[in-house]
């Protein structure tokens, strides 16, 4: 089989196993929609100031933010946890002893996570259109939105793989991963808009990729008066490159003792 064929097969196999674990698949898909319903029910209905003098509809805000959250869950959170599990189960070690190149195995996992993210974004957007009168981006915005989703999904996948290097064992994986990502989600305006937040929180959020990703997702989904900035996508991509370098250097194919 050619390397391209092997990659396609890894994606298919990963997908098969993903759907056969219904609990995991269910929560990956249910969380973003559940949060969308909860946040809009609690805080929706009115307008929200996302920048000085810039007001947008709270419901639309959450449709875009939850799509960003869905991408991060499907890539960063899911990969970091599930790769830690496959590592501790000895699956990675066995793969390492086979002729399958490491890049094809991990490439298959990442490609699957990216595809699941795109599916989740589509579902979230469709849900937003159906229940919250969200406008779907068109034209240039749609193109910007698509690039943001794909770049973000790849970057957060790389960061997820890098994170497995600090996960001591599979049992600890959910705790470690959530300890990293949950504060960042709050710092980055995914759950609550940051307008009026203390300055240190704004500065801290600016360092990490989650906020830049959220802003690019929001800007390209909503359109004017919000501003889509390519620099946000570049920051996310740069973090992805850092994640990839860390993963290549520190990734472990065997359970950590």
């Amino acid at each position: 089989m050619s390397d391209a064929g092997l990659l396609a097969q890894q994606v298919r196999t990963t997908n098969k196993a993903f759907w056969r674990n219904p609990a995991s698949a269910f929560f990956t898909f249910a969380f973003p929609l559940m949060f969308l319903v909860i946040f809009t029910a609690l805080l929706g209905g009115g307008n929200v100031e996302v920048a000085p003098g810039v007001m947008i509809q709270q419901d639309s805000y959450y449709v875009a933010a939850m799509a960003a959250f869905a991408v991060i869950t499907a890539t960063y959170t899911n990969l970091a946890i599930s790769v830690s599990f496959t590592r501790d189960a000895g699956i990675l070690k066995r793969t390492r002893g086979s002729p399958l190149p490491a890049g094809i195995y991990l490439g298959g996992r990442v490609a699957h996570a990216v595809l699941i993210s795109i599916l989740l974004v589509l579902i979230t957007a469709a849900f937003g259109v159906a229940f919250y009168q969200a406008n779907v981006p068109t034209g240039v915005l749609l193109w910007e939105y698509f690039v943001t989703v794909v770049v973000g999904a790849m970057a957060f996948s790389a960061l997820g793989l890098a994170t497995t290097a600090v996960v001591p064992n599979a049992d600890a994986a959910p705790a470690v991963v959530n300890a990293i990502i949950l504060p960042l989600l709050f710092l980055s305006g995914i759950f609550f808009p940051l307008e009026g937040a203390p300055q240190w929180m704004i500065v801290l959020g600016d360092i990490f990729p989650v906020k830049h990703f959220a802003e690019a997702m929001l800007g390209s989904f909503y359109g004017p008066p919000l501003q889509f900035e390519w620099v946000d996508v570049l920051v996310v991509a740069a973090w992805g490159v850092v994640g990839l370098a860390l993963a290549i250097r520190f990734f472990s194919w065997e359970p950590r003792k």
Binding site: M1, R20, G90, I91, K93, R94, G97, P99
Partner: protein, 301 residues
């Protein structure tokens, strides 16, 4: 030299101050079934994992099918099958899907159903891995290692956790592979397994090889003598067994010429009309040799 599948000279591996492998030499020829024996912590798994390309050696030369395993070449991995002690497969795939997946990594794999049949998992073909028993998962491990039709197989304790029937079956499978000309590098805790399967064994303790040779030769070299045992009869003993040791009510004697000694003993008994109760003649086994060689190491679990 061309006939050698694995050549190891002066192999050393240290972890900090600990010397796990302290300079060993090995030469395994094509078609051989070679067993590496030793207590846990003796350097067995470290040695195998260096040959498999999982560990990088500290010093020495290693050649596997003409490759240095530390280079991790894809070409080498295409020609080698590995059964490790603790590896898993995706629990949500079926037996057949799993074997087919691994088979697809190799240039000329075996027929998937044939491999599944060979390890005795025909009835579990479409069962998910999560539903298999421990022994069945181990058989799946063997099936995966065979999927690529490798010329060299590493089997690290391949029958641990098998019931006696499954073990016999696994021995048949390994025996058949040997007949097909495959080279097999085996590690095991079971001496009967090594005695049954291996053409040659090496015993490793504290990172050094302390004995090496065909199982029968090893037994002869290290504990060559046959042991005769019987319950002490009343009265005097014949001269040939007088120097035997007494264990409880039993006489135990190690002899170089079992036929002659037995003849003397039994004619002596028949003449006097004595029945030698509990009469036993035993040859030492590989296990006896192993216990002798690893004395003081055993239980270093």
């Amino acid at each position: 030299m061309t006939d050698e599948v694995i050549t190891v000279t002066g192999l050393r591996k240290t972890y900090g101050d600990l010397e796990a492998v302290a300079g060993i030499d090995l030469a395994i020829r094509s078609g051989e079934v070679f067993a590496l024996l030793g207590p846990n912590g003796a350097g067995k798994t470290t040695t195998v994992e260096i040959l498999e390309g999982y560990r990088v050696r500290t010093a020495g030369e290693v050649s596997v099918l003409g490759f240095d395993p530390a280079d991790r070449s894809r070409e080498l991995r295409r020609r080698v099958g590995i059964v490790l002690q603790s590896t898993g497969v995706d629990p949500y795939l079926t037996v057949r899907e799993t074997v087919a997946l691994y088979a697809s990594y190799y240039p000329s794999p075996r027929n998937v159903d044939e491999v599944v049949d060979l390890v005795g998992l025909s009835e579990k073909r479409d069962a998910r891995v999560i539903k298999l028993s421990g022994g069945q998962q181990r058989r799946l491990d063997v099936a995966i290692a065979l999927a690529g039709d490798p010329e060299l197989l590493f089997l690290d304790e391949p029958t641990t956790g098998f019931d006696p029937g499954a073990r016999r079956h696994a021995w048949d499978v390994i025996g058949n592979l040997a007949e097909l000309g495959k080279t097999i590098f085996l590690t095991t805790h079971y001496m009967d397994e090594a005695q049954n399967l291996a053409n040659r064994v090496a015993v490793i303790t504290k990172g050094e090889i302390v004995a090496e040779g065909p199982p029968s030769t090893l037994v002869e070299q290290h504990l060559g003598r046959t042991v005769i045992r019987f319950r002490r009869p009343p009265g005097d003993l014949p001269p040939s067994v007088r120097d035997g040791s007494t264990v409880g009510a039993e006489i135990e004697i190690a002899v170089d010429e079992p036929t002659r000694t037995l003849h003397e003993l039994t004619s002596w008994a028949v003449e006097r009309g004595i029945e030698l109760e509990g009469l036993q003649v035993t040859r030492p086994t590989l296990e006896d040799v192993y216990l002798e060689l690893t004395r003081g190491e055993a239980g270093a679990e």
